[in-house]
């Protein structure tokens, strides 16, 4: 121990970061905290929330049933504005799903240990968001019962194959792959936790289904080794998958010739926007969950802070993309492109554009300030408004561009019908119903992963390297 110049050494010493998981938890405590909500009866608050979301879901289901029986005429679409709420909602929900994959997969590859508290719920959010998203292309078909024609199976019509050059076909493969891989990633990651819940469960129906779902997991080191390898491999697959899926979704627009759609910026722009809106949704869900399920020790400022910063980063990327689009149109000299932007800001949907810019570009800038990041009420409000803004971004891109295309004689306005509004609400009902059921029946936090980042039982400093 040096005596002189102690001042220098002390000031250069690395500060000890606050623990990821507060409350000095042991692995046993983690097990109990996370399994407790599964083992006790659900609270009144859970029942209230579930009844609200199921009611909304039923309203949406009724609207969709009516629409499938009566036809697309029940929507407000017209000859010029052929896509509106249906595709807006589709892109919105897919975008939300992407943040879950970001948190599970991409942060795993970057070895960010703070992801362990939120990755299970984030992946669940992805699954449910992709389910909500996948419903919209299905119901927006004129004959949804023939949706199986999208699959290239040998058939008696020639065989008539699908058009592999169409982005709508790419969409089908992309969404199907994304859903399957996300589901596998979520489930494989959950097997050890299901085993933990199984070993605590008394004999009965719950024990039987956990027995079945945990596949006889026993915690052997070799199995853990292979499990870690599979998770890394799936993460490595899921990361380019996220980028490819939303790029393909954006090509639904980018490959058309419509001004305002036909731009090469769309794939990166959409991917950034998707991660942005998804992070906001994760923040919303996490802040609710930690309060309602008493998981404040597991979702701490050490988790909320980096998520706010990521939200700020992706939000700024989205803002930069808006500016780039605008500059490209201006610099191009193409009067149709230039008009698109004049129309977006000052046309009949200018109000939607204002909401979009305010919520997506201006509002997230508040996250520069640590005081805002620490005030959870503000974070919650901002996260909800970000999602509102992102919905309006897709709405503006789709409806404002379609409604004012090359030929003024085709220009048309659009207004949603009650059926479309009910369907949108119903998709939220479906999402929250699924999420509430997930909270009730499945371990919300990845116990196995959280235990591995506790400081308990390690020599020296904590933190996973």
């Amino acid at each position: 121990m040096a005596e002189a110049s102690i001042v220098w050494e002390d000031s250069r010493a690395e500060p000890v970061p606050p623990p990821l998981i507060a409350g000095d938890k042991t692995p046993g405590e983690v097990t109990r905290d996370v399994c407790a909500p599964l083992e006790r009866r659900p609270t009144g608050l859970w029942w209230a929330a579930l009844s609200v979301s199921v009611s909304v879901l039923l309203v949406g289901a009724a609207a969709v049933t009516y629409q499938i029986a009566m036809g697309i005429g029940t929507w407000g679409l017209n000859r010029t504005v052929g896509w509106a709420f249906d595709i807006t909602n589709f892109v919105f929900w897919i975008g939300i799903g992407h943040a879950g994959t970001l948190i599970s997969a991409i942060l795993l590859l970057f070895r960010q240990s703070w992801r362990t508290s939120v990755n299970r719920s984030a992946e669940a959010m992805t699954i449910f968001a992709v389910i909500c998203a996948g419903l919209f292309p299905l119901i927006h078909m004129g004959r949804p019962w023939l949706a199986y024609w999208m699959v290239p199976y040998p058939n008696a019509r020639g065989s008539l194959w699908i058009n592999f050059r169409s982005p709508l076909v790419w969409d089908f493969f992309a969404i199907a792959t994304y859903f399957t891989i996300s589901l596998l990633f979520w489930y494989v990651g959950m097997i050890p936790d299901l085993a933990t819940a199984r070993d605590r469960a008394p004999a009965g129906m719950r024990r039987r289904w956990l027995d079945w779902a945990s596949l006889g997991w026993d915690g052997s080191a070799r199995t853990w080794h292979r499990w870690e390898t599979v998770c890394l491999l799936l993460a490595g697959l899921a990361t380019p998958l996220v980028i490819s899926v939303h790029s393909i979704v954006s090509s639904d627009f980018a490959t058309a010739v419509l001004p305002g759609w036909h731009t090469t910026i769309f794939p990166p722009y959409f991917v950034a926007g998707a991660i942005f809106s998804g992070l906001a949704m994760v923040l919303t869900l996490m802040l609710i969950a930690r309060k309602v399920m008493h998981l404040e020790d597991y979702i701490t400022q050490r988790h909320i802070d980096p998520m706010c910063k990521l939200t700020l980063a992706t939000g700024s990327l989205v803002g930069l993309a808006y500016l780039t689009e605008f500059f490209t149109a201006m610099y191009s000299g193409n009067p149709y492109e230039q008009f698109v932007f004049v129309n977006r800001a000052w046309g009949p949907w200018g109000w939607a554009f204002a909401v979009m810019v305010a919520c997506n570009v201006l509002l997230p800038q508040a996250f520069w300030f640590p005081s805002v990041r620490r005030k959870l009420i503000a974070v919650f409000a901002i996260s909800i408004l970000i999602n509102v803004g992102m919905w309006f971004e897709r709405f503006v891109i789709i409806v404002a561009s379609l409604g004012r295309d090359f030929l003024p004689s085709s220009w048309s306005s659009y207004a949603p019908t009650s059926i479309e509004l009910a369907t949108l609400a119903g998709s939220f009902g479906l999402f929250f119903t699924c999420f509430l059921l997930f909270c009730r029946f499945l371990p919300m936090i990845a116990m196995g992963e959280v235990k591995s980042v506790l400081r308990e039982g390690r020599h020296g400093e904590g933190g996973h390297t």
């Binding site: 933990t196 070993d199 870690e228 196995g448």
Partner: protein
């Protein structure tokens, strides 16, 4: 086979790791370890070989990509090529997204299946953790006693030194498990019976359905069972089909003429043509508008075989269709208008009938144009021709000409 295993329980991850290193330093070989989470450094401590699942993933990705690329090429360029917007049939850049997705899908699903198979995880497998609490907060180390010189006391010392909580010696039943053999055997047997029963039932159902379809398919010429024939048979009435429930069965009244239809009351024979030539006159006046119309109709309907100049050198005639005789020289020049009209209406030898394609006025106007090609002056004998035609009833409905021969 080992006779006994030593099962050691630990309560901290660090203790487990240190114990493994100590045990290996002492010459004993741990055969497995159990943990409630993936312990960092456990693989190295145990000396586990890196998993080969990475290779599986990579190979499956390549396989998925190749198959999907071939499939897209085969469907788009070989099996049923369709020109979509003029894009090349083998649209490689457009095929890329689906190739990527297929690669990811095959790799992901395949790797997970390989993982489950390699780890022997499956629904219905009985978990075989050696001590309780492995999935909660306990760690375990398994060491096999390989030979008679096994020094249990020394091992105990090493393990205790590194914080072992419980040390047991066990006789393994089957593998590492410690399930009670009797119960498990009984449970296994009845479950196996149930599975077998289910399998047999499914096989029987499958065979029965195959036989039923084979026997029930019957007449190959008859249309088979349709699934969802939603747009195959339109419920709307067809225009020219007869339906009993409609007035007159939806059939037109006998003798109905189409609008602007003029039946030509001459037989479709050479004699009929000559008779028409003697009896009919061109009712259309030869003013500029009519001649221009005739020229336009000629260019659209006649020039393909007859050529723009009427010399029988049209595009179709040059490509194998028997060329018609010239319209501007030879017999055509001497043919009267009525005969030309008959020929246009009914056709002649290789020329098909144009009576269904052109209205009567247009056919007369074409004849004006033909005369112009022939260099003859067009005679505007409109009124005189109209009267003489009416008297010959060449263009009147059959009602006034019942005594005429049975002509169409």
């Amino acid at each position: 086979m080992s006779e006994r295993v030593v099962v050691t329980t630990f309560s901290r991850e660090a203790d487990l790791l240190a114990a493994i290193r100590g045990v290996r330093a002492g010459g004993w070989r741990p055969s497995d370890a159990y943990a409630p989470y993936a312990v960092h450094g456990l693989d190295e401590a145990l000396g586990l070989r890196p998993s080969r699942l990475g290779w599986v993933c990579g190979l499956l990705a390549v396989a998925g990509a190749t198959c999907m690329l071939w499939f897209q090429y085969w469907t788009s360029a070989v099996d049923w090529p369709i020109n979509v917007g003029g894009k090349p049939l083998n649209s490689l850049p457009a095929f890329v997204p689906v190739v990527f997705e297929a690669a990811v899908l095959v790799a992901g699903v395949g790797t997970v299946l390989a993982f489950l198979m390699a780890s022997r995880l499956r629904p219905g497998r009985k978990p075989s953790a050696p001590v309780p609490g492995i999935s909660d907060d306990r760690f375990a180390l398994i060491i096999e006693e390989t030979d008679a010189t096994f020094d249990m006391a020394a091992l105990r010392r090493v393990l205790k030194q590194h914080g072992a909580v419980i040390i047991e010696e066990r006789v393994p039943a089957q593998g590492h498990g410690n399930e009670t053999a009797g119960d498990a055997g009984h449970v296994r047997e009845s479950r196996a019976n149930r599975l077998l029963g289910a399998n047999v039932a499914l096989m029987v159902a499958l065979c029965v359905s195959v036989v039923a379809v084979w026997l029930g398919s019957g007449d190959g010429a008859r249309r088979n069972w349709h699934f969802l024939p939603t747009m195959l048979r339109s419920p709307a009435y067809d225009v020219y089909e007869t339906y009993a429930e409609l007035p007159h069965g939806n059939a037109p009244v006998a003798g109905t003429l189409a609008r602007d239809e003029h039946r030509l009351r001459y037989p479709a024979t050479e004699e009929g043509a000559q008779l028409a030539g003697r009896e009919l006159r061109n009712p259309v006046a030869g003013e500029d508008q009519a001649v221009r119309r005739g020229a336009a109709v000629y260019q659209s309907f006649c020039a393909a075989c007859h050529g723009s100049g009427g010399q029988g050198d049209g595009g179709v005639s040059q490509r194998g269709y028997p060329p018609p005789p010239s319209l501007v020289t030879g017999d055509s020049v001497k043919m009267p208008d009525g005969q030309l009209f008959h020929i246009i209406t009914y056709g002649r030898q290789n020329m098909p009938a144009h009576g269904n394609l052109l209205g009567a006025a247009d056919r007369w106007k074409v004849i004006l144009h033909i005369r112009k090609l022939q260099g003859k002056e067009v005679v505007p004998e409109a009124e005189a021709a109209e009267e003489s035609n009416q008297s010959h009833a060449g263009n009147e409905p059959a009602i006034e000409e019942a005594e005429r021969e049975n002509v169409p």
